[in-house]
């Protein structure tokens, strides 16, 4: 069966719950099981379709006779689409399994049908975005994705913060969508057959060569639109608002794959339609990526809401992906296809990895939320004893996102580093000077990310329980959710261990888009060695790393446990300090305090502490109240001014309508006179 047919099956299966769920609305559990089983099946189908499409480099097109009569819906499955189809499907599969358990936990007065419908529509939208092959259909799919995710964010609509977040999200997304629309307009206008609606098809956009000015307009319009959706700083503010309040399985999808849809869009337009461009485009993309990466992780460090923290990390990782894309664009504009291929592969690989581990982390956070009904890390701690499975999976997620070998996050970041280090090949001294600094920033990002996830895992799962509610109520989540997380964890691990296999698989993308392949198997022993550029340039074998560590650990363990040795459990020593309570632990805020001090100027910090009881001695107050508020600077820099200006203008415009009919008559009078003067 051809990949495209499988993809179609996936679409149909994915859409089915929209109709079926209302039918079995009577039985809650039936609705849940049926719908999510179907979505899971659909996702698997999508994964298969995607894998095959990339494997065989298929290029199937189809036309659905819908939409405008002269502009029917064009679909196309090519390797790029296939790759993203695979990414989306993979995570959607895990999340669907997970959702069976998670959705059961919703309070009984919530409509399951409503959730299921928008959930399916959301994934269908994402599938269609990558499959669409004309501007109109693309935008329909794009906005379908946006709108349905909006309703999912709004799902618990009685909470004001959800409504606010959803509103912010939809506005930014829609403004972005209009920008994308305009960029398509530019390209369609230059493509031939505009008058006959044919210019709107991607085929004719692909066939056109664009003058530089228009190309620039198209690129930056679309980049703005996609960046708004991807949460690139400074357009990121909706992201940390919307992702935490959405149901966790949805946030997993939004953060894991919806953001990737915009990466897809950028790649599609840049490498597929425009093809040729000056180097400074890449420069801009690269620097935006760096800014997002560093600021994203720094803001993440300041959060104590687990899901908010993860959301800011999505900003960071999108930044890393953009770094790869920017480098790829730079190399392309200097006609270095192989290096461009390296950078592009790095970006795509990170796209895949981020989908996996961010999905995993959000599922883990969801599990914690499910068990403790709490998002605030300051109220958690010691969960590893209550939720061992979740702890393991979450730890794997942390290790992956912190880019530690041998897990997958490291591979893509390492590739990005390699791409950075190859920048001296650019025949621009200034570039080869500046770009390694970017590498340093990337290193900073990585290290901060590690810090952040030590904090996330340590505060949430380790130490003592900080919450006010009793920890006895906390239970490990059910097996659906565990399986969902387990699969994601396994994927993270295997993507880390067998990068060469994956890269061989997706090398065709680079070949099609930037016209270069990276010889990944130049190493001595084939798949074991990842040698992106040349064997003596750099090499990495995560397999060896894993085996090496494993063997040493085993050997030492066996040696040390040769004879039975007892372990005595005692209260913690803690330098002999007695009576340590759980409030004395380091918590999220105190953990990030040094970094807050060091990077202070980047945040909008309000910190106040007061002694709120009669103090005997100023040095030893009975009780202190400490308040800390760390805000995103971009609110005050960008968004509040925009809002104020808008309302100011609105007030001015309001003066037009000031109630007195004479004035209105004067308007029309003056209008006539003016028109007559100018045209009469």
């Amino acid at each position: 069966m051809a990949p495209f047919d499988i993809a179609v099956i996936a679409l149909i299966l994915m859409f089915a719950p929209v109709i079926l769920a209302p039918c079995c609305a009577g039985s809650r559990s039936l609705a849940i099981h049926l719908s999510f089983t179907m979505t899971a099946a659909a996702s698997i189908a999508a994964v298969i379709a995607g894998i095959l499409a990339v494997q065989h480099g298929v290029n199937t097109t189809a036309i659905v006779d819908m939409g405008l009569p002269d502009l029917p819906f064009h679909l196309r499955l090519d390797p790029l689409a296939g790759f993203f189809l695979c990414v989306i499907g993979l995570l959607a599969f895990f999340v669907s399994i997970y959702s069976i358990g998670y959705v059961k936990g919703f309070s009984a007065n919530r409509s399951i049908v409503r959730f299921v419908i928008f959930y399916s529509l959301f994934i269908v939208g994402m599938f269609l975005v990558v499959l669409a092959d004309d501007a109109f259909f693309f935008l329909v799919a794009w906005e379908l994705m946006a709108a349905s995710s909006y309703f999912l964010v709004m799902y618990e609509d009685e909470k004001a913060e959800n409504r606010r977040a959803a509103y912010l999200y939809l506005v930014i997304a829609h403004v972005g969508a209009i920008a994308i629309l305009l960029s398509f307009g530019v390209m369609a206008g230059l493509a031939n057959g505009f008058e006959s609606f044919q210019g709107y098809t991607f085929a004719s956009m692909r066939a056109t060569t664009y003058p530089l000015g228009w190309a620039t307009a198209a690129f930056f319009l679309s980049f703005f639109g996609f960046a708004a959706k991807a949460g690139v700083i400074p357009l990121h503010v909706w992201l940390p608002e919307a992702h935490p309040v959405a149901p966790s399985n949805v946030s997993a999808l939004m953060s894991g794959v919806m953001l990737k849809a915009s990466i897809y869009g950028i790649i599609r337009i840049t490498f597929d339609f425009l093809k040729v461009y000056p180097w400074w485009w890449g420069g801009i993309v690269l620097s935006l990526g760096l800014v997002s990466a560093v600021l994203g992780v720094l803001y993440a460090l300041m959060q104590h809401d687990l899901k908010r923290l993860l959301a800011y990390h999505s900003v960071e990782n999108i930044g890393i992906i953009l770094i790869g894309l920017g480098l790829a664009m730079l190399f392309t504009s200097f006609h270095l296809p192989v290096l461009a291929a390296l950078a592009l592969i790095a970006a795509l690989y990170h796209t895949l990895n981020h989908a996996m581990f961010k999905g995993l982390l959000f599922m883990g956070a969801g599990a914690v939320l499910h068990a403790t009904h709490e998002r605030n890390m300051e109220e958690m701690g010691g969960l590893i004893h209550k939720m061992p499975w979740t702890a393991v999976f979450f730890l794997i997620g942390c290790v992956s996102i912190a880019a530690l070998p041998p897990f997958n996050g490291f591979v893509s970041e390492w590739l990005t580093f390699q791409a950075f280090l190859l920048s001296p090949a650019l025949h621009r001294p200034i570039l080869s000077l500046l770009i390694p600094l970017g590498a340093a920033l990337l290193a900073l990002t990585g290290a901060l990310a590690a810090a952040c996830f030590v904090k996330a895992f340590g505060v949430t799962f380790l130490g003592h329980w900080r919450g006010h509610a009793s920890i006895q109520a906390v239970k490990e989540v059910d097996w659906h959710m565990r399986i969902g997380m387990l699969l994601a964890a396994i994927t993270c691990f295997s993507l880390g261990i067998f990068p060469t296999v994956v890269i061989n698989w997706m090398d065709i993308l680079a070949e099609k888009l930037v016209g270069g392949k990276i010889a990944t198997t130049a190493g001595k022993f084939g798949w074991m060695w990842l040698t992106p550029y040349a064997h003596e340039r750099a090499s990495y074998s995560s397999f060896n790393v894993f085996i090496g560590i494993l063997s040493v650990v085993l050997v030492t363990y066996l040696l040390l446990h040769a004879k039975r040795t007892a372990i005595r459990r005692v209260p913690a020593w803690d330098c002999g300090f007695a009576r340590t309570t759980s409030r004395m632990q380091y918590n999220a805020t105190s953990f990030s305090m040094p970094i807050r001090r060091i990077f202070g100027p980047l945040f909008h910090i309000r910190e106040e502490s007061e002694a709120i009881q009669p103090v005997r001695h100023p040095a030893y107050p009975e009780k202190l109240r400490y308040r800390l508020r760390v805000r995103d600077r971009f609110w005050t820099w960008l968004y509040e001014p925009i809002g104020n200006v808008a309302f100011f203008v609105a007030r001015l415009v309001g003066n037009l309508q000031q109630g007195r009919i004479q004035v209105y008559l004067i308007y029309s009078f003056v209008t006539i006179i003016v028109l007559l003067v100018f045209l009469g």
Binding site: F136, V140, V171, L181, G185, F194
Partner: protein
């Protein structure tokens, strides 16, 4: 023949209802009348679709693709509105806001209004076009002030005076047009017929037509509600009974725009330049921006959506101004879907305000929990209205925007700004109304679901699967307006 029937029905029912309009089955009669009109309209449309344009009654009526689709739309929306007004006016009557005489008057005028609009659409004569436009205004003036509240009377008075003055300008323009036409086509009724004028438009005296268009623009522009001639519109559309707001926003604006476009074609044909088009673009853009920003500070639900009518009419006007097949196609589609969506929105808004006993948006809450159909229809209507797929307005705005960036790229930032602000403004208000828990002051209500759902379904279909014959129509119309 069928055409005369089409016109006759509504006139006839107007007379009938003038006598029995307060009878308890009057609403059903009203529905029946509009339904009959609608079916006649469909037949006429089929006729045109099969046999092409036609002229009836000594060239007095002329039907082509452009006006027939508007005629069908008008009769359709008037039918659904009649269905809606059955439930709505019953509640109003129960609240004692309208009495027997008012019901009579309401029903009679409703049909008369439809008659006026159909006449305006179908006539071939610019003079008659003017007359019926004036008639449409006059027939609705007193409906706006139906509730006799001070604000209602104020709104009606402004509507009356401003539109009267405007339309007077249009008459002067028509005189000038006649003056120019006479010198080509000779004295007599022939000289004001669109069919003749459109053929000789290139021989008409440019200076005169340019002057004429200024007056026509101001005249009909006032009725389209183009900034800065729009001031009557928010008042009139928000103070009248909701069915009237629906047809005013959904239909009358279209008819006025139709008149304007016909004139524009003549003028540009004669001057051979793009003067009139540019004028339309200017007015359209101004309307979009002003309306968008005015939306931000609305408190009254119907007032807000009247402003959005100004905005959407601005979009359509702008698109007609651009010209060219894509933009014109988009504009025609936009007129269609906007009137469907906007009337649907007004239906739901009307029910919402009845449920809460107020039009203040801050008091309207928890619609989805209160009345799911109304709530969902409302939010989806809003989504459609702000131009999000998969609804029809997205298709039209898509075409219009892409055409804009091709033909007038420098205006796109302004357009982007306008649409963005409008989106943010409308959603800012709509979202809290649908979401959340049911407030204590909300009262349950037997809502008229059929019209709302019908309209939303149509808008959805037009966005996802536009039928071939419709696009053929549009292409024909585009050919006419070239």
């Amino acid at each position: 023949m069928i055409l005369l029937v089409l016109l006759g029905i509504s006139l006839f029912f107007a007379v009938v209802l003038a006598f029995v309009g307060d009878w308890r089955y009057a609403p059903e009669i009203n529905i029946a009348g509009s339904a009959a009109t609608f079916s006649a309209g469909v037949v006429l449309a089929l006729h045109v679709y099969l046999y092409g344009p036609m002229m009836v009654g000594h060239k007095f009526f002329f039907v082509d693709a452009f006006n027939v689709y508007l005629a069908v739309l008008t009769s359709f929306v008037s039918m659904t509105t009649a269905i809606f007004s059955r439930r709505y006016m019953r509640v109003e009557r129960a609240h004692g806001r309208v009495g027997r005489w008012k019901m009579r008057f309401y029903h009679a005028m409703y049909q008369l209004f439809i008659f006026a609009m159909l006449l305006a659409l179908l006539t071939n004569n610019f003079g008659v076009l003017w007359i019926s436009m004036e008639l449409a205004t006059l027939s609705t003036v007193l409906l706006v002030s139906l509730y006799r509240t001070p604000t209602a009377i104020e709104a009606a008075w402004k509507y009356f005076i401003l539109c009267g003055v405007g339309i007077a300008q249009a008459l002067f323009g028509t005189v000038l047009l006649y003056f120019a036409a006479e010198r080509v086509l000779g004295v007599g009724g022939e000289a004001l017929l669109w069919t003749n004028l459109s053929q000789v438009s290139n021989q008409l005296e440019p200076t005169v037509l340019r002057l004429a268009f200024v007056f026509l623009m101001v005249g009909y522009g006032t009725k389209v509600g183009l900034v800065p001639l729009h001031n009557w519109l928010p008042d009139a559309h928000s103070e009248g009974p909701t069915p009237i707001s629906a047809v005013l926003s959904g239909l009358l604006l279209n008819v006025a725009l139709y008149a304007l476009v016909r004139c524009k074609v003549l003028v540009d044909g004669s001057t051979g330049s793009h003067t009139a088009g540019r004028m339309l673009m200017g007015f359209g853009l101004l309307s979009i921006l002003v309306a968008a920003f005015s939306l931000l500070r609305q408190k009254d639900i119907k007032r807000m959506f009247s402003y959005s009518s100004i905005e959407n009419m601005g979009v359509a006007t702008f698109a007609f101004g651009i010209g060219g097949p894509i933009a014109t196609f988009g504009a025609l589609l936009h007129m269609l879907v906007h009137s469907l969506t906007k009337s649907a929105i007004f239906f739901t808004a009307g029910h919402a305000s009845q449920m809460h006993g107020t039009q203040e948006m801050d008091k309207i809450r928890g619609l989805i929990s209160g009345n799911p159909v109304v709530g969902w229809a409302f939010i989806f209507g809003a989504i459609a209205l702000v131009g999000m797929p998969p609804f029809g307005l997205f298709a039209s705005e898509f075409l219009i925007l892409t055409a804009t960036i091709k033909d007038a790229p420098l205006l796109t930032p302004l357009l982007l700004l306008g649409l963005g602000v409008a989106f943010a403004a409308i959603f800012r208000k709509v979202q809290p109304m649908v979401a959340g828990a049911v407030p204590p002051w909300q009262t349950p209500l037997k809502a008229a679901h059929v019209p709302v759902l019908l309209h939303m379904a149509l808008v959805l279909i037009l966005g996802l699967y536009m039928p071939r014959f419709l696009s053929d129509w549009f292409h024909m119309a585009v050919g006419i307006l070239k």
